[in-house]
Symmetry: C2
Subunit: 388 residues, 2 copies
């Protein structure tokens, strides 16, 4: 009997985390959970503590923390706020830290876990988008593996098993095309929040579903891939593949291509990330290509997906450009979800923020945090202007 591995899961009520807990449940005793963390969804946290008996929990929101302390049946350690988050991330007993916080909030806890020498299962793409240079530098100097949970990067990781990175000619990230891949361009102005949240293939959180509709999500993934696999922008391509069956591909210098395929079920990449490079046996839905029949591919169109172009340009610009991009996008998507701006204003806000904000090359973490916060301010100002 092998000793169970210890995992802490940062950001514990999102869809990725729910599915991670499902996988851990199926791995029956192979993982002990050290910490679960939550922003404010304490009902869900209560259920999770009953089910998975973590060593401790973190509640980030102050009111929710008091509330949880008062009513919970959980007997373990209860930590509070960012400090608690950082403590959970850096906990000595962790073998693995799943970083599944949403947005820029994931950056510092991820770095804390890396500095503590913990293997990272990375499901927080904004961390790499904003602070890729810092995070990958830290990972290298602490000799820490960054294992991608995202289905696309996880697919690349699988395709690279047994291969040398020097033999890679390019990687191709597939994209479903999101909710509006077939919508006539002249209808984009009138897109509603409800329409945008209706993703054709994947059930995901709200922010990422909008990022998927604008394809900013795919732009982020190109940036992530750049940092995870050490490839320049010119060696990373995006291909629209509406069935989401091929999750991504690696082209090698001999003309051979490897792809990872599967049903669109996030538990497959999550499980690979948890036990990488080993595989376990699961009864997840099986791929039957004879049932699916047809796989289609075409190049993305920047008129339909201006956010993808903005992301590629930010990667080329380097420095804090991708942090600015991410911050502006987070605010703009939030504003769209709250009914403050239209769908087509998302990319215009981002583009304006990028134009207004200076880029710092070779940024420190502080430079990135500043760029993030200032870009948010600029974005909020621009949104207020639109409203009034």
């Amino acid at each position: 009997m092998i000793n169970p591995r210890t995992i802490s899961i940062l950001g514990s009520t999102g869809s990725i985390v729910t599915q991670t807990l499902d996988v851990i449940d199926r791995l029956d005793g192979k993982f002990d959970i050290a910490y679960l963390t939550v922003d404010k969804n304490i009902e869900e946290l209560e259920r999770q503590t009953q089910r998975f008996s973590p060593g401790g929990v973190v509640v980030c929101n102050s009111e929710a923390y008091s509330e949880f302390k008062k009513h919970t049946r959980f007997k373990g350690e209860i930590l509070y706020g960012n400090e608690g988050l950082h403590q959970a991330a850096a906990y000595e007993g962790n073998d693995l830290v799943m970083s599944a916080l949403v947005g820029f909030a994931g950056v510092v806890p991820t770095i804390r876990a890396i500095e503590a020498g913990k293997t990272i299962a990375l499901a927080n793409k904004e961390a790499l988008v904003s602070a890729g240079s810092i995070i990958t530098k830290a990972a290298t100097s602490h000799n820490v593996d960054l294992i991608a949970v995202d289905s696309e990067h996880n697919a690349i990781l699988q395709c690279l098993a047994g291969e040398r990175i020097n033999d890679v000619e390019k990687i191709v990230l597939t994209a479903s095309g999101g909710s509006f891949r077939d919508t006539p361009l002249d209808e984009f102005e009138a897109i509603t929040v409800g329409q945008a949240l209706n993703h054709p293939n994947w059930a995901m959180g709200n922010k990422i579903t909008i990022d998927s509709a604008t394809m900013m999500n795919k732009g982020f993934e190109v940036i992530e891939a750049h940092w995870l696999f050490g490839l320049p922008a010119g060696q990373i391509e995006v291909l629209i593949h509406r069935q989401s069956i091929i999750h991504s591909m690696v082209h090698f210098t001999d003309g051979s291509v490897k792809a990872q395929l599967g049903m669109p079920d996030m538990r497959i990449p999550i499980s690979y990330a948890l036990t990488y490079p080993a595989r376990e046996q699961y009864n997840f839905p099986r791929l039957d290509l004879s049932q699916i029949g047809t796989l289609e591919f075409h190049r993305p169109d920047y008129q339909r997906y201006p956010c993808l172009k903005l992301a590629l340009e930010a990667l080329e610009a380097g420095g804090t450009a991708t942090a600015i991009l991410n911050a502006a996008n987070e605010v703009a998507v939030g504003a769209f979800l709250n009914g403050l701006i239209s769908f087509t204003e998302i990319h215009k806000i981002i583009s304006s923020v990028i134009e207004k904000k200076e880029i710092t090359l070779n940024p420190s973490l502080e430079d990135i945090i500043d760029a993030d916060s200032e870009s948010r301010d600029i974005a909020h100002l621009l949104i207020n202007k639109i409203k009034n």
Copy 2:
């Protein structure tokens, strides 16, 4: 500068060999050729000796041997017949032996090379079909790698890099469907040799093109896969994929699938086999899925492909059944190519031979050679009956 590796190529004027020589040419100095062998195409052999300066050659046909001896400008060793072939196969200086003989004739030379401890690049599928148990047993006991050159098995080999065979749930061999994938079944009776030789995707030799039209070729590949990867028949599937872009797939026990893709260019798998597990850089045609647009998949239909069913049944039956299948097929396809029988008589001949010939389980090499030769005699008798 790494020392060049030494290769002998058995069966040196087929399409696989021509393409292997093309790859070796591109590998500029990384391979020395010890022996080239030929049945009787001595003009081609003459050109090859001028171009590639092998250490020696083998001419199997007696007239061609005398002719070559008399007229050649080649100054190296000139060997004759099966004895020469076996000498080339077992040559001490070989690092690698490419076994690209066509049909059952490849069995004994392949075994000689294995017994001499040489790594085998195996492009002679009939060797494994007829004598898989003997060949794999010899490879295991001499600790010799059998590296598949066939695009499908080479694809599986690529997908298995960095993976454990125990994590494999099944492998899926893709099939173009051959020349008659869209032909109405009631037109099969009237199929001509010319039509059958017109393969939609791959340029190959005559025998394999017919085997591809009947899908006996795919049946052989299932048998080959069984021996190469140690998987039972139930874990090997065939899927029709008309574009021949996905060359084959591995399904893992976690629901993940890996595929190898590429343009239908045999030089890609050949080059991987030559330098396995390393890759080299080549300017072979690149895959662009956005150009191809659509990949299609469906299950094979045994009414259209009765030979596939015969092959799967022979694998289940075991022992000499697959040797009988292969021998009957070689004779029947030869008869079809010579206009002696119709296309639909191919599978009937094979089926009758299998019915008439007893199966020997756990056969020795002699049992297999006997089964092969007796099955050929039965097949010839049956064909003569049809003619008269």
